[in-house]
C-alpha cells in the first residue's frame, strides 16, 4: 500500500532525481559536451536529409509502412531494455539516501519516481531527434496529427522500454541479493548474459550468416510504435497495431509498476547475501590456523601471485587493485560498450573474410592489450575514493604507479601474448608474421598498461555521492576511456598493418595526413585561389610523397617510428603518472 497521493510524490521524486543527474553531468564538462555533440550531430544530419530530399519525399505519395521499419523500431526498443536493465543491475539497484527516502515515502512512490527519472533521461536523449522528425513530418506532409502522435509514440516507447528494463533489472538484482550461487558467480553469469545479448543482436542483424534479419522483428508488438507514429501521414501503418501498442503500453505501465514495486521492496528491505561469505567459510579454517603470518590480501587475490622480488608497497597496491576489480566487477561496465561495438563489427567482418582468424588474430593483438591496460588502472584515484588522501601520504608515486601497472602486466601480458601467438600459429600466418604479431601484442600491452594510469591519474573521476553512502562504483570518465582506447588501438592497428600489409598502411597514412586534408581544404576553398587552396596543394604533395615511398621502406620506417614512439610514450606516461601522484592534492 502506498500513501494516497503517491503519484504526485513520485513525479516529485522523478523530477528531483532527474535534476540531480543533470547537475552531475554538468559538473563533468567534457562529458556534457560529448553528450551534447552526440545529440546535436545526428539531428543536424536528419535536418539536412529532410531538407535535401524534401522534394523527392513529397512526391512519393502514399506508401505502406515497410516491415523493416517496425523491425528497426523493435530493435531500438530491445536495445533500450538492455541498457535500462544493465543500469539497474550495475549502477543503482539501491537508492541514494536510502534510509531517508524509505522512511519518508512508500516503495511505490520511489519506484514511480525512479521510473519517471529514467524516462526523462531517455526522453532527454530522444527529444532533439524526435522534434526534428516531428517537424519534418509536419512540414513535408502537412499532417498536424504527427505533431502529437510522433512525440506520443516516442514517449510510450521510452517509457515501456525503461519499465521492462527495470522489471528485469530488479529481478536480476534480487537474484544477486538472495541467491548465494548467483552472488558468487555474478561476474561469469554477467559475461554470459552480455555475450548472449550480443549473439542475439548479431543473429538479428546479420541475415547473410544464418541470421533472421531485422524484418523478422516486425512481428513483435514493440515495433508497432511506428504504426502509431505515422497515423495522419501518407505512410500507411496499421490502425490495429497502433491501437495494440497504445492499450498495451498502458497495461505495461500499470502492471510494470506493480511488479517493480514488489521486486524493489524485497530488494531494499532484504539483507543481501554475500558471495564472498560462502567462500570464506570453505577455505578459512586452514588459512587462519596453519600460517603464522597473516596473508589476507594474498589469499584474497589467489591464484594470482605477485613475484617475490617486488617491493612490499608496490605488491600491496597491485594486490589491492586486483582485489578491487574482482570484488566489484561492476566497475568494468565501461569496457562493455567498446567491446560490444568493436566485437560485433569484428565478428561480422571475420565471418565474411576467407579465414576468420585472419581478422581475429590482428584484432587480438590490438584489443587484448587495450583491455589489459583499461581493466585495472583506468581510474585509480577515483577507485581509491575516500582513502586517497591516506594513500597519497603513505606511499611514493613510484611504488604506487608500479603497483597499479603490475596487474595488467602480470595478467594481461601473458594472455595477450599467448592468445595472439597461439591463434596466429593456427591461423593463416607465416612464422615471421606470427612473431611480429606477438611483438605488436607485447608492445601494445606495455603501452596500454603504462598509459592507463597516466591518463587516469591526470583526469580522475570521483564519486558524486558523499563518502559512506557511496555506491563504490566509479567508472572512469568517458573521455579518458575513449582517449586511451583510440590512443592505444590506433597506433597498434597501424603497426599491425605495417607488418601485414605495408602498402595498405602506406595508403592509409597518405590519405590521413595528405589527401584527406587536401580534399577538405579544397572543398572549403571552392573555386577561390588563395591560402586555402595553396594549403590544399601542399597537403596533396605530402600525400603523394608518402605514397611514393616503397612498401618495404614504409614498413621499415613507419614501423620503426611507431616502435620508438611506443617506447617514448611508455616512459613518458610512467614518469608523468609518478610526478602527478607525488604532487597531487586531493580536493577533500
Amino acid at each position: 500500500m502506498a500513501e494516497p497521493n503517491w503519484l504526485q510524490h513520485a513525479l516529485g521524486v522523478g523530477v528531483f532525481e532527474f535534476r540531480r543527474s543533470v547537475r552531475a553531468i554538468w559538473q563533468d564538462k567534457a562529458r556534457a559536451f560529448l553528450m551534447a555533440a552526440g545529440l546535436v550531430f545526428p539531428s543536424l544530419m536528419l535536418v539536412g536529409f529532410i531538407y535535401l530530399f524534401s522534394g523527392v519525399i513529397r512526391d512519393i505519395g502514399t506508401v505502406s509502412l515497410p516491415p523493416v521499419a517496425r523491425g528497426t523500431v523493435a530493435l531500438l526498443w530491445l536495445f533500450g531494455v538492455f541498457i535500462a536493465t544493465q543500469r539497474v543491475v550495475s549502477a543503482r539497484p539501491r537508492i541514494d539516501a536510502e534510509s531517508l527516502i524509505l522512511t519518508t515515502v512508500s516503495a511505490r512512490t520511489v519506484v514511480g519516481g525512479l521510473l519517471v527519472a529514467e524516462t526523462l533521461r531517455v526522453l532527454a536523449y530522444l527529444c532533439l531527434p524526435v522534434s526534428v522528425l516531428t517537424g519534418g513530418m509536419v512540414y513535408l506532409f502537412s499532417s498536424p496529427a504527427s505533431a502529437l502522435l510522433i512525440p506520443l509514440a516516442a514517449v510510450l516507447l521510452g517509457l515501456t522500454a525503461v519499465l521492462v528494463g527495470m522489471v528485469l533489472g530488479y529481478a536480476v538484482a534480487l537474484l544477486i541479493a538472495t541467491s548465494p550461487f548467483v552472488a558468487r558467480h555474478k561476474t561469469v553469469l554477467g559475461g554470459v548474459a552480455v555475450l548472449a545479448a550480443m549473439g542475439g543482436y548479431l543473429f538479428v542483424t546479420l541475415p547473410q550468416f544464418g541470421g533472421v534479419g531485422q524484418e523478422a522483428l516486425a512481428v513483435l508488438p514493440v515495433g508497432w510504435f511506428v504504426d502509431l507514429a505515422v497515423i495522419g501521414s501518407p505512410i500507411q501503418g496499421s490502425m490495429t497495431r497502433a491501437a495494440v501498442v497504445g492499450v498495451g503500453s498502458l497495461l505495461v505501465v500499470v502492471g510494470g509498476i506493480a511488479l517493480i514495486e514488489r521486486e524493489a521492496t524485497r530488494l531494499w528491505f532484504t539483507d543481501p547475501v554475500s558471495g564472498e561469505e560462502g567462500q570464506k567459510e570453505e577455505s578459512d579454517p586452514a588459512a587462519t590456523t596453519s600460517k603464522e603470518t597473516r596473508t589476507a590480501l594474498a589469499d584474497a587475490t589467489a591464484p594470482v601471485r605477485i613475484p617475490r622480488g617486488i617491493s612490499q608497497p608496490t605488491r600491496r597496491v597491485a594486490q589491492w587493485s586486483i582485489l578491487r576489480t574482482r570484488r566489484d566487477p561492476r566497475r568494468l561496465n565501461f569496457l562493455l560498450l567498446p567491446v560490444v561495438i568493436v566485437g560485433s563489427a569484428l565478428f561480422s567482418s571475420g565471418m565474411q573474410a576467407e579465414s576468420p582468424l585472419a581478422v581475429f588474430v590482428p584484432a587480438a593483438a590490438v584489443l587484448l592489450p587495450w583491455m589489459a591496460g583499461a581493466t585495472f588502472a583506468m581510474n585509480p584515484f577515483g577507485d581509491e575514493g575516500s582513502v586517497l588522501p591516506i594513500t597519497l601520504i603513505s606511499i611514493s608515486g613510484l611504488a604506487y604507479v608500479r603497483g597499479v601497472m603490475l596487474p595488467g602486466l602480470l595478467l594481461g601480458l601473458p594472455i595477450a601474448v599467448l592468445v595472439t601467438g597461439g591463434a596466429a600459429l593456427v591461423g593463416p600466418f607465416e612464422l615471421p608474421a606470427a612473431v611480429g604479431l606477438v611483438g605488436v601484442a607485447l608492445l601494445a600491452t606495455v603501452v596500454a598498461v603504462s598509459t592507463a594510469p597516466a591518463v587516469g591519474i591526470w583526469f580522475p573521476r570521483f564519486s558524486a555521492i558523499s563518502i559512506g553512502q557511496s555506491r563504490e562504483v566509479v567508472p572512469p570518465r568517458l573521455v579518458t576511456t575513449a582517449f586511451h582506447f583510440l590512443g592505444v588501438t590506433g597506433p597498434a592497428t597501424l603497426l599491425t598493418l605495417c607488418l601485414l600489409n605495408p602498402r595498405f598502411a602506406r595508403t592509409l597514412v597518405a590519405g590521413i595526413v595528405g589527401f584527406l586534408p587536401a580534399a577538405l581544404l579544397q572543398l572549403v576553398a571552392g573555386e577561390d585561389v588563395g591560402v586555402l587552396s595553396d594549403a590544399s596543394t601542399w597537403f596533396y604533395g605530402i600525400g603523394t610523397a608518402v605514397q611514393s615511398v616503397s612498401g618495404e621502406s614504409f614498413q621499415l620506417v613507419g614501423g620503426g617510428l611507431l616502435v620508438v614512439g611506443a617506447v617514448v610514450i611508455t616512459v613518458l606516461s610512467y614518469r608523468l603518472a609518478v610526478r602527478r601522484f607525488d604532487r597531487y592534492s586531493p580536493s577533500l
Partner: protein
C-alpha cells in the same frame, strides 16, 4: 501507552547475532538513551524500529504500529542515521524542501520551521543555499538533523546526533531534544557522549553484545557504579560492558 515496545526482538546476520532478544518499552514523550560499545547493535535496533530492516524474530511496535507495517509506520517516525543521508548535488534548502514536499507538509509553515532550526544551529542562509558537496561534516549533520525532525514526528530516532558537531551546536541539539520531548515527541537516542545522555535522557538502556544489560534512569545507573571516587555514568557503562565483570580491576583509577 508506550511509544516503542519490543518483544524478544532479534536480528541475525549469518552467524552474528546483532540484536539478541531485546525487550524494552519507552513511554510516550520521553527520551530514551541507548548506550553500548561499538558493534553492540544500536544502529541495527534503530534500523529495525524504523522499518528499514526486518527482524529475524520477535516483534516491535512504534507509535502503536507494528514495525513490519512500513506504510503506517512512516508518518509517525523521523530518523537521523549515522551517515547523514543527503544529496551532494542539492543545497540544504533544496534538500529540506524536497523532503518536506514528500511528506506533504504545508510549505509556508515548513519554511519558517526550516529557517528557525537552521538559525538555531548556526547554519547561515548563505551556507544553506550552497551545494551540500561543499559542506563540512558538522554542517551535514545539522541538515540531517533538521530533516529528521522537520515534520514533528511522534517518535524521533537519532543515531549519534551530536557526532561531528562543535560544542555550541551540540548544546543546541541537546536543547532541541529537550524541547522535542516537551512537545510530546518520543526520542530514541543513541550516542557515545555520556554527558548528553545524562542531561537529556529520562531512561538509559545499555546494550552489550546485542543484549540489554541494564535499564534505568541515569541517576540510578550512576548509583550502581562500584568504582571511581565520584561515581559517574561512565563508570557504570564501563563496568556493565566489560568482558568479565567479576575480573574488573577495582584498583584502576581515572585521571
Amino acid at each position: 501507552m508506550p511509544s516503542i515496545e519490543t518483544t524478544a526482538l532479534t536480528k541475525r546476520y549469518g552467524s552474528t547475532t546483532a540484536v539478541d532478544q531485546l525487550d524494552f518499552s519507552v513511554p510516550d514523550g520521553t527520551v530514551y538513551g541507548f548506550l553500548g560499545p561499538n558493534g553492540a547493535g544500536k544502529t541495527t535496533t534503530m534500523r529495525i524500529l524504523t522499518g528499514l530492516t526486518t527482524p529475524t524474530s520477535g516483534s516491535a511496535t512504534v507509535a502503536g504500529v507494528p514495525v513490519t507495517n512500513r506504510d503506517s509506520l512512516r508518518p509517525h517516525i523521523g530518523y537521523l542515521p549515522e551517515e547523514p543521508p543527503l544529496y551532494e548535488q542539492a543545497t540544504a534548502y533544496e534538500q529540506l524542501e524536497y523532503v518536506a514536499g514528500l511528506r506533504d507538509l504545508p510549505s509556508r509553515e515548513t519554511q519558517n520551521r526550516i529557517d528557525e532550526l537552521l538559525d538555531r544551529l548556526d547554519l547561515s542562509p548563505d551556507d544553506a543555499a550552497t551545494r551540500i558537496a561543499e559542506y563540512s561534516k558538522g554542517m551535514r549533520q545539522k541538515v540531517a538533523y533538521v530533516q529528521a525532525v522537520l515534520h514533528d514526528p511522534d517518535v524521533a530516532f537519532l543515531d549519534e546526533p551530536t557526532s561531528g558537531l562543535d560544542p555550541r551546536a551540540a548544546r543546541t541539539i541537546r536543547e532541541l531534544i529537550g524541547e522535542l520531548s516537551d512537545e510530546g515527541t518520543t526520542v530514541f537516542l543513541s550516542t557515545h557522549i555520556l554527558p548528553v545522555v545524562e542531561e537529556v535522557a529520562d531512561t538509559v538502556g545499555i546494550l552489550y553484545d546485542g543484549k540489554l544489560v541494564a535499564e534505568d534512569t541515569p541517576d540510578q545507573l550512576t548509583q550502581r557504579a562500584e568504582t571511581g571516587e565520584t561515581r559517574t555514568l561512565e563508570d557504570a557503562f564501563l563496568e556493565l560492558t566489560s568482558t568479565d565483570p567479576a575480573q574488573d580491576d577495582t584498583e584502576e583509577t581515572y585521571g
